[in-house]
């Protein structure tokens, strides 16, 4: 099932590291600015706008392409 995982920049390295540890180094990630929690509505909406096109891409592109691209985007993968 196509799944998009949304992370903030502050958690990007943690997300990539955990994905590698779990055996999915090319886990597709939709990346938004940090922070996300405890923010004003406008900020949260801005984050959502950042995430939306990435989520669409992740949910619609072929999984193999995504895995390859996100694995290459991870410096440690």
């Amino acid at each position: 099932m196509p799944t998009a995982t949304i992370v903030t920049e502050a958690f990007l390295e943690a997300a990539r590291r955990q994905a590698r540890n779990l055996g999915i180094p090319g886990l597709p990630l939709a990346i938004v600015e940090h922070p996300f929690a405890g923010q004003a509505r406008e900020t949260v909406e801005a984050r959502a706008e950042q995430a939306a096109p990435q989520v669409v891409t992740i949910l619609t592109e072929p999984a193999e392409l995504l895995a390859d691209r996100f694995a290459r985007a991870d410096p440690a993968a």
Binding site: E13, A14, R17, Q18, L22
Partner: protein, 450 residues
């Protein structure tokens, strides 16, 4: 004709010789070795004992288990915690071989599914595994249960907790700032290990309460925030002392105030004696704290993590002015308004499945002393003991509670209250103070096979 089968001793000796970790040559300088290990992120920042093969074999002398035995797989790195790897970290931490069975048992504890180690290792919350050692082994190994129980000065306390931390980092991959996303952390992340002063405990020791024999040595691991002192030198009665404790529990910054999570109350022997002297049982203590560790709902709404997620059902949100009708109203108008109880503690195992177990008030009663020998703990908080649910049963209980006499409770008044609670009472430095740890997310207890 002699037997063709090797003796058990021979097999053990052969197994013990099979250390599989990679060897690496370092300069012959403990200062340089420590600098290199630090730069690799293999330490907690303090110098370590270099884990030479000689030292690791010495450490392995503390257990009958083979070095290749797999104790657990530790997240988030999914690292294999074999006896050998645990022994290496125990050497680095400064343990003696006699401590190794306790360290191995703590690994079994933290690996219990219900503790949600993956979440614990990667959360932003400042939790650390608090190790509580019970039984004769605690006394024999001089695990401090007395003055400065959370502080420095005792090798067992200092190095057992540190060995667990190094295992969580070096085997589990809990790297601060990387995978370990703790916003502040707390000093207990270096080492967090105490024993219960069973001799001065007026009630049952923790491990006995959880179904083990008194002469069984046991380890209980609870993921806990830093301890907060409870200073009460005025009261000479159970309700007085415990009202002070309840006040410390009910603060807007505490996670458990808005969600689930236990609170662990560690009582000094003097406070414990006073409370028990009034005829109160541990259940009485738990129940009192459940009732008293509350806050007006109007205030609850002003801060903390209000608005993020559903509140526990036991929080009455029917406001009257800026107060709320008490879920279990009683005579004390100051506390009846409201809401969250830090003492309440349905365990909250971190999230993966969202299962919440409610209504487990906690306080632990320990008492102080030194040191003993035997087996370590045994899964006294089995999942089957927990009460999963939506809290609906609490409503009935709350109504029933209105019919109960005001404090102090009598024996039996807490009947029907869930047992899961861990009120430990415990020993302490200042004779008239106790301490509280909030937001205990999970615990597990395992009997040692060593």
């Amino acid at each position: 004709m002699s037997t063709t089968h090797p003796s058990a001793e021979t097999v053990d000796a052969a197994a013990k010789s099979l250390l599989t970790s990679e060897r690496e040559r370092f300069p012959d300088s403990i200062i340089e070795i420590n600098q290199r290990l630090y730069e690799r992120g293999w330490t907690d920042g303090l110098p370590v004992i270099p884990p030479t093969e000689e030292a690791v074999r010495w450490m392995l002398g503390g257990t009958d288990r083979g070095p290749d035995e797999l104790i657990a797989v530790l997240p988030p790195a999914q690292g294999e915690a074999t006896v050998e790897k645990i022994a290496i970290n125990a050497v680095m931490a400064g343990c003696r071989p006699e401590y190794l069975p306790i360290v191995i048992t703590t690994i079994e504890c933290v690996a219990e599914e219900r503790l949600n180690l993956y979440g614990r290792q990667t959360t932003t919350h400042p939790g650390a595994p608090l190790i509580i050692v019970n039984g004769p082994m605690a006394r024999e190994l001089e695990v401090n249960a007395g003055f400065n129980v959370f502080g420095q000065g005792w090798r067992a306390n200092a190095t057992i907790g540190r060995a667990l931390r190094l295992c969580l980092m070096n085997i589990g991959g809990g790297t601060p700032g990387k995978t370990d996303r703790a916003t502040h952390g707390h000093p207990g992340k270096y080492s967090y290990c105490i024993a219960e002063n069973e001799a001065a405990n007026p009630w049952e020791p923790l491990h006995v309460e959880r179904g083990l024999a008194r002469e069984t040595s046991a380890v209980t691991v609870i993921w806990a925030e830093a301890p907060h002192n409870i200073n009460d030198q005025r009261n000479e009665s159970a309700p007085g002392i415990l009202r002070t404790a309840a006040s410390v529990m009910a603060t807007l910054g505490g996670n458990g105030f808005y969600r689930q999570g236990e609170a662990l109350l560690v009582l000094s022997p003097e406070h414990a004696a006073t409370i028990a002297g009034d005829g109160w049982t541990k259940d009485d203590v738990r129940r009192f704290l459940f009732e008293q560790a509350r806050e007006r709902f109007g205030r609850v709404k002003q801060g903390g993590i209000f608005g993020l997620g559903d509140l526990p059902r036991w929080i009455d949100q029917h406001e009257v002015g800026d107060q709320v009708g008490p879920p279990g109203g009683h005579a004390d108008g100051d506390v009846r308004g409201a809401a969250a109880g830090g003492a309440e503690e349905a365990e909250y195992f971190g999230g993966a499945k969202g299962d919440v177990f409610r209504e487990r008030h906690d306080a632990a009663v320990f008492v102080e002393e030194r040191a003993g020998n035997g087996e370590l703990l045994g899964r006294s908080w089995a999942a089957s003991e927990l009460v999963p649910g939506d809290g609906a049963h609490l409503d009935d209980r709350a109504r029933a509670r209105e019919l109960v006499e005001p404090f102090p409770f009598r024996a039996g008044a807490g009947e029907g209250m869930d047992e899961k609670v861990g009120v430990e009472v415990h020993a302490h430095q200042k004779p008239m103070s106790s301490s509280l740890m909030r937001r205990i997310s999970a615990s597990g207890s395992v009997r040692s096979k060593s």
